[in-house]
C-alpha cells in the first residue's frame, strides 16, 4: 500500500479505514485487561488457599480454661504428645500470648491480670489421620473446659467460597471471550458488506474465498494483537502497582509477587490469544459468508 504511511499489513481491501474496526483494539484491550486481572485474581486465590490449606490442615489449637491447674495443663499436654500423628506440642507462654493479643489490647497490657485461656499449639504430621472426636473426649476428661479448635470446617467453608469466586471469575472471562467473538463477527460482517464491490472484483479476478478471508483474518489478527498488547500493558502496570501496595502492608492473602513468572506468562498468553481468537473468528465468519455468495 502506498500513498501514505499506514500501520499494519498490506491489504487489498481497505479494512483499516472502516469506522467499525477502529474501536476493536480498545474493546480487546479492555477484555484482555479484565481477563488478565481475573486470571491473576484466580492465581492469588489459589495460592492463598494453598497456604491456608497447608497451615490449617497440619495445625490445631487446644484451649484450656484460664483457671486450669498446672497439673491439668501438663496432663493435657501429655495426652496430646502421646496421640499418634501429633508431631509437636507447644504450650504458649505468657509472653507469646501477650504478643497474640497485642494487636487488640496494646503491647503494654499485663496478661496476668486477664482471664486468658491457656493455648496449646499442636502440629500434626503431614499425613496424620487423627480421630478428633476421641481426642476431644480424652481432653475433656482431663479438663471439662478443654476446647479443640479444628480448622478443617473453616477450611471447607473457605474452599466453598473460593470455588464460588473462581466460578465468578471464570464466568467473567467466558463472557469477555464471547463478547470478543461477537464483536469480531459483527466487524467482519460489516466489513464484508461495506467492501462488497471490492470483494466481488477480487472474485472476478480469480481470488479464491480463502484469499479474501485471509485479508479479513490478517486485519483481525493485527487489531487483536494491538488491543492485546495495550490491555497487557495496562494490566502489567496494575499488577506492579498492586504488588508494590501489597508489599507495603501485611495482607492475609498471597500478594502478587513481581518475580512470579505466572502473571507475566498470562499477560503474554492473553495478548496472543486475543489476536488468535480475533483471527480465527474473522476467518470463520468470512468463509461462511463467502460460501453463501453466488
Amino acid at each position: 500500500m502506498t500513498g501514505g504511511w499506514t500501520i499494519g499489513p498490506r491489504l487489498d481491501l481497505p479494512l483499516g479505514c472502516d469506522p467499525t474496526g477502529r474501536f476493536l483494539p480498545w474493546i480487546i484491550a479492555l477484555m484482555v485487561y479484565l481477563t488478565v486481572l481475573g486470571g491473576v485474581g484466580l492465581m492469588l486465590l489459589g495460592d492463598t488457599l494453598g497456604e491456608w490449606n497447608q497451615s490449617l490442615q497440619t495445625t490445631m489449637t487446644v484451649q484450656l480454661p484460664a483457671d486450669s491447674s498446672t497439673g491439668r495443663i501438663e496432663t493435657a499436654v501429655a495426652v496430646l504428645k502421646q496421640t499418634p500423628g501429633v508431631a509437636l506440642v507447644h504450650l504458649l507462654g505468657a509472653d507469646e500470648t501477650a504478643r497474640l493479643i497485642a494487636p487488640w489490647l496494646g503491647p503494654d497490657v499485663s496478661v496476668d491480670s486477664l482471664p486468658l485461656p491457656h493455648l496449646v499449639d499442636v502440629h500434626l504430621e503431614p499425613d496424620a489421620n487423627l480421630d478428633l472426636a476421641a481426642l476431644k473426649k480424652k481432653l475433656m476428661q482431663v479438663d471439662p473446659g478443654a476446647e479443640l479448635a479444628d480448622h478443617r470446617s473453616a477450611l471447607l467453608e473457605l474452599r466453598g467460597f473460593a470455588v464460588k469466586v473462581e466460578g465468578l471469575i471464570g464466568a467473567v472471562v467466558a463472557i469477555v471471550a464471547v463478547l470478543l467473538v461477537l464483536t469480531v463477527v459483527f466487524i467482519a460482517r460489516t466489513g464484508l458488506a461495506i467492501h462488497q464491490p471490492v470483494v466481488e472484483l477480487l472474485h472476478l479476478l480469480g481470488a479464491p474465498d480463502r484469499y479474501i478471508a485471509r485479508q479479513f483474518q490478517t486485519h483481525a489478527l493485527w487489531l487483536g494483537l494491538r488491543g492485546g498488547v495495550i490491555g497487557a500493558i495496562a494490566a502489567a502496570m496494575t499488577i506492579v502497582v498492586l504488588g508494590r501496595a501489597a508489599a507495603a502492608v501485611s495482607l492475609p492473602v498471597a500478594a502478587p509477587g513481581l518475580l512470579d513468572w505466572r502473571p507475566w506468562a498470562l499477560l503474554i498468553a492473553a495478548a496472543i490469544a486475543a489476536g488468535l481468537v480475533a483471527m480465527a473468528t474473522a476467518r470463520a465468519t468470512i468463509a461462511h459468508r463467502l460460501a453463501r455468495m453466488p
Binding site: 498490506r10 487489498d12 479476478l205
Partner: protein, 225 residues
C-alpha cells in the same frame, strides 16, 4: 477455448437479452463483439467470465462446462482470464502499482516477480511515472490503461475487454488495440466488446454483432482501411 451453444439469458420475466447465441472463440483468435448499448455485449462477456449463469444452453470455457464447476474451479478458470471492465473497477485505496499487481498476488506470485514485471508493464503502457499514484488522481484514459495493465499482467489465456476504447480519443483507441494485438501475438485469445462498429471494422479481425440479443457474424469490410 470458448464455446457458447444455444445460450439464452433473461432476467426474471423480462425479454431475453441473449437468444440462442452460438459462437466459438478459437485459441489465439482476435475478435470484436459489436452492438449498440444494451444489445447484451456485457452480459455475454459476463457469461464467459462466469459472473452470470445462462438461462439455457451450454458454455464451455477452457474445455470446462461452466455449469458443472464448483467455487474453487471457478476461481481457477477466472485466473486464466484477463478482464478490462467498462468502468475499470480499480481499487481506489491501492496505488497504480498495487492495482496492477493484484492478479499476480492472487495467483501467489513471489514479490520479486511482481517488483520486476509490474514496473516494466507500466512503462510499456506509458504509465511508468504513475506507479505510486492512486487511480483517482489519473485521467480517464490513464485509468483505462491501468485496467488494461491489470488484465494482461499475468498473460492470460483469454482477454475480455468491455468497451476499452469508449473513453479515449481515436488515436489512443488505436494504440490500445495495437497493445491488444501484441498480447494476442503472445498467444492470448482476445475478445473486445465495442459499440463502435465502424471502429471495429478498421481491423482485419473476426467480428460478431449483437442486435436485440441475436448474435451474427459481421462480414462487412467496406470501412476496413
Amino acid at each position: 477455448m470458448v464455446r457458447l451453444e444455444n445460450v439464452g439469458k433473461r432476467y426474471g420475466n423480462s425479454a431475453e437479452i441473449l437468444q440462442d447465441v452460438t459462437v466459438t472463440l478459437d485459441p489465439g483468435g482476435f475478435y470484436f463483439l459489436t452492438g449498440v448499448s444494451g444489445a447484451g455485449k456485457t452480459t455475454l462477456l459476463k457469461i464467459i467470465y462466469l459472473a452470470e449463469r445462462v438461462s439455457h444452453g451450454t458454455v464451455t470455457v477452457f474445455d470446462t462446462d461452466t455449469a458443472a464447476v464448483d467455487r474453487r474451479a471457478q476461481s481457477a478458470l477466472r485466473r486464466r482470464i484477463g478482464i478490462v471492465f467498462q468502468d475499470f473497477r480499480l481499487i481506489e485505496h491501492l496505488s497504480v502499482r498495487d492495482n496492477v499487481a493484484l492478479p499476480l498476488r492472487i495467483a501467489g506470485a513471489p514479490e520479486r516477480e511482481i517488483r520486476e514485471n509490474v514496473p516494466e508493464l507500466l512503462s510499456w503502457l506509458g504509465l511508468g511515472d504513475k506507479a505510486d499514484l492512486r487511480p483517482t488522481t489519473l485521467s480517464g484514459g490513464e485509468q483505462q490503461r491501468v485496467a488494461i495493465a491489470r488484465a494482461i499482467v499475468r498473460r492470460p489465456d483469454l482477454l475480455l475487454a468491455d468497451e476499452p476504447t469508449g473513453n479515449v480519443d481515436d488515436e489512443i483507441a488505436m494504440l490500445l488495440v495495437r497493445v491488444f494485438e501484441r498480447i494476442n501475438r503472445l498467444g492470448t485469445t482476445v475478445l473486445i466488446a465495442t459499440h463502435d462498429v465502424a471502429f471495429a471494422r478498421q481491423f482485419a479481425h473476426e467480428r460478431f454483432h449483437l442486435e436485440r440479443g441475436v448474435l451474427t457474424v459481421d462480414t462487412g469490410f467496406e470501412d476496413f482501411a
